[in-house]
């Protein structure tokens, strides 16, 4: 209370840049509010989870170092480490020895629908070409593909 001056509030409000939004290219900042009733480690975990789910952080993106976060927000380094370890345990981030923490590359899940659609396009183009050679109507082919997908879901 005695020393929370405007200068300090600005420091605290500043946040740390940790990534860029893919959609609107806005820079993303970490925020920590030590005086919140939510424990600091949980604020960090929740934030990284949300940023990953929202596509703001992608596989391979690096998280700011424990020291950087601790010094910036004046919080205990072990608290930051604890948050990072929890994120690591739930496979959201991976620790690269001597380098730091990175958003985990658990492949397809982390990729966007658009990216994954591009991966299946070659097989579908091949099927479409064969359907045409066989003179099959589009409706019949789509019906068959739909049935195959549904059978697949059932497995």
């Amino acid at each position: 209370m005695y020393y929370i001056t405007d200068t300090l509030m600005q420091f605290a409000a500043g946040g740390i840049k940790i990534g860029k939004s893919m959609s609107d290219n806005k820079e993303i900042y970490f925020q920590i509010q030590p005086s919140s009733g939510v424990p600091i480690y949980k604020q960090i975990v929740d934030q990284v989870e949300r940023l990953v789910a929202g596509g703001y952080l992608s596989p391979g993106d690096e998280l700011p170092s424990v020291r950087k976060v601790a010094v910036h927000f004046e919080v205990n380094p072990m608290t930051v480490s604890k948050a990072y370890s929890m994120l690591e345990a739930s496979n959201i981030v991976e620790r690269r020895r001597g380098m730091g923490m990175f958003i985990a590359s658990n492949s397809d899940n982390a990729k966007s629908v658009k990216q994954r659609i591009e991966l299946i396009r070659p097989s579908l183009e091949e099927a479409a070409s064969q359907a045409k050679q066989l003179g099959l109507p589009n409706e019949k082919v789509l019906e068959l593909f739909k049935k195959i997908l549904e059978d697949n879901d059932g497995k």
């Binding site: 020393y3 030590p34 919140s36 424990p39 949980k42 010094v71 004046e74 919080v75 205990n76 072990m78």
Partner: protein, 241 residues
Amino acid sequence: MENSDVVIRLEKVSKSYGDKQVLKNIDLTIKKGTIMGLVGKNGAGKTTMIKSLLGLLKLDSGKASLFGEDSWDLPGEVKQKLGYVPQTVNGFDGWMTVDALLEYTSVFYDKWNKNKVDKLLKDWNIDPKARFRSLSEGEKQKVAIIMAMGHEPELYIFDEPVASLDPVARRSFIKELIDLNIDSGTTMLFSTHITSDLERIAADVALLKDNEIKYVGELSALKEKYDQNMNLEDIFIELNK
């Protein structure tokens, strides 16, 4: 057998001044690398507990130890590992210049990081040629902190460390502590009643109430026990009821 990870240990410590009991059966263990905040209202026993740890007070009963050595009879090598900043910084010879005071302090230690000391003096705008008694309260406290940092201790004990520091010095002080904690696993115990500091830097907390330890453990675990809308100050008021 003494666990070598344990830096501070109090076992069933009791202390009275006359017929007024100040510490009642205090048990506390602090491991290497911990940053623990010691909180409690005025008169709860914080300073007495710190003085017991440092061997500045004789206990009525129980045992206090630092690095496994009895606090009342600390060997020189333990004192070399200890940095203590008292609540009030009087008792130094006021006629000495800051330079001379630091020089005088340094001879008591096997090692002295002059670069760090000079850098802190510069960062905190202390004129090394100024006489100690001419400094403001805040500047005196800065000098006391620098005196405790020169020999790069493994354990810091602060009694209300930042009460009269300005925001710029306070921030660089905290940055210094975080660097030390990450780089060297330095252990820190500090007493405060300003919970906003505690919420940031301490991961563990011990709460003294009515001369007993009412809570000791992780700060996050304490927060999780209470409603999310309650900040630490609210929780302490609740615990002090």
